[in-house]
Symmetry: C2
Amino acid sequence: MKIEVDRHLLLSQLSYISRAIPNKTPHPVLTGIKFVVTGEGLYLTGSDSDITINTFLPLEVEETQVINIEETGSIIIPGKYFIEIIKKLNGQTISISTFEGNYAMIKCGGSEYTLNGFDVNQYPNIELIKRDDAIQMEKQLLKTIIRQTVFSTANNENRPVLTGVNFRHDEDELICIATDSFRLSKKIVPLNKEHKPFNLVIPGRSLKDLSNILDDTADNVEIHLSSNHVLFQFGNISFQSRLLEGIYPETSEFVPTTVAIEIKADYQELYNAFDRASLIARDQFSNVVKLDIQPEKGKMLITANSPDVGKVEEAVNIDMLKGTELRIACSALFILDALKAINNPNSEVLIGFNGDMRPFILRDQNDETTIQLIVPVRME
Amino acid sequence: MKIEVDRHLLLSQLSYISRAIPNKTPHPVLTGIKFVVTGEGLYLTGSDSDITINTFLPLEVEETQVINIEETGSIIIPGKYFIEIIKKLNGQTISISTFEGNYAMIKCGGSEYTLNGFDVNQYPNIELIKRDDAIQMEKQLLKTIIRQTVFSTANNENRPVLTGVNFRHDEDELICIATDSFRLSKKIVPLNKEHKPFNLVIPGRSLKDLSNILDDTADNVEIHLSSNHVLFQFGNISFQSRLLEGIYPETSEFVPTTVAIEIKADYQELYNAFDRASLIARDQFSNVVKLDIQPEKGKMLITANSPDVGKVEEAVNIDMLKGTELRIACSALFILDALKAINNPNSEVLIGFNGDMRPFILRDQNDETTIQLIVPVRME
């Protein structure tokens, strides 16, 4: 293999691939990037065995030649070193060639690197599974689904299936749910009836990595579902993740459809008040604050108390839409996470309660598709 | 004590004071900020017992009232919490009052905090020592002295005096030296003969903290020297550091006054080449690279070899000013640190050698006041 390639275009491909390169792995070959040069261009692959990212750089981009191929071929080049080297080189074009099998030589201006690579046969054979019945979804919608759910996935592996987001399609809806059993995020988006029903769980970490790669353009993503994998295809990038095994728990009975008490408050005022209260709450077990809804004053008091540090009281203006006074305790961080998911500083937030021991829900008053549910903690 | 104070002005005072607040300390009271309100305004003090920072906020700034004093007094308020709270509050004015001795109440809009403080009598009595014969120095010159020397101080405490920068005044020069015994930085600036000679060592950490507080204005700093302390006074800020005890070693014999081999190279080309070579060198003991000066080619080759990763060769264009070929080995990181201290991308750098086992020196060709010396390592 011997090519000359535009350094900046190569760097942008590497910025995608780098998401899949593990820092530590029992399989050293996976710390490398797979280079395959054919007559069509350069294919790059990175994988940590859970996710696999593949990019393609054609010979020409916008009618300008960006790769000059002297010899086709393939090699595995150590990823971390290669990326740092390409970043720090100064020229516009770099030359990459292989010699004596597993060595890669990189030249640019007065710089010449020789890196110890791996034979391409040592790299696992990862099939990217495409289907004819792929789902088409707007990039920005997919990013929003991820942003509004993935933070509620479980961090610990006690119940592995909870570390993922459940995607369920039935009738004309796609329902996306994440829960760590202390809180739950639910997003509903329309999905054409023509697609077969499915019910699968995508690892939260895969979705976070995917979200970081999805740029802010308006293009579509193709979603290819197979029995053990999901492949997201956009532009010249393929992002494949394994699915989590196991049955996702039925959660619909936990999400209240009616509420006994409902208040409305300004997003930014609410966010700032909980953010400040959490300064004192954070030294307490799970950042607990107490909410005290006072209908006659049109206020919600947020209080926290840390014997070592001191105490705080924040008064938030509320519109009482329904119900009466209530005292309830919960994690300030869960509320802040839920508000970040709503992320609409110019809007007002609805909070619905069914008593001090039942889950309560937050949502943007202008968005019925997204619900953030939080389980309260027992009042002292 | 009871005051109302402009939040933004208070925050800017706190940003200075925070540099002195220790994260961990055997004296809990030092995690607090000392507030003293007199008829003139608000004095704030923070200290980790090595350095002490004091600021003063007068009643009026630019003819606008910024503090309203209802009651003078004093208290120690937990620093970390106080600063975060003031940052997160929304209003323009905050009220701070003390009650029941050691409690501080902070109010702003709908927010009310009570923090557990300390009695002001528990705070150590730290005298800020001013002298009539203070040295006047431009802020930017002081920042440059620190930037060009402090990185060469020793990190470990084997020889405590080497963790500081030596400031020595004799005749009409101030000589500033730092060395960890593997490299040495030397800066010479003019200083009026009228000042008495001195020879003292300021802790490197104190100088780093001071440098972060010195803004980019053209004002002067007053430097007050006493037997155990140095006090830097600028604007309404006093920054006092203890001095290091012990005799700073005599280093003049290690700094060559003549060189047998001298080359000149473009700053940026040199920096980039060592930066790239260090990628491969970093897995080796102390980032060793080899330099190979080839007069007949007008090149210096920089090479590094890591059995696990691979190897690199960088060719840098040089002007041979004096001498013949040379092969020498040294730490790439030391060279990068020295170049960062020179920090003149549009200039050329002179490097002078006296053989492969003798220290070599780098300097900006347009700056005779600063020398960066590096001890080579033995060639393999």
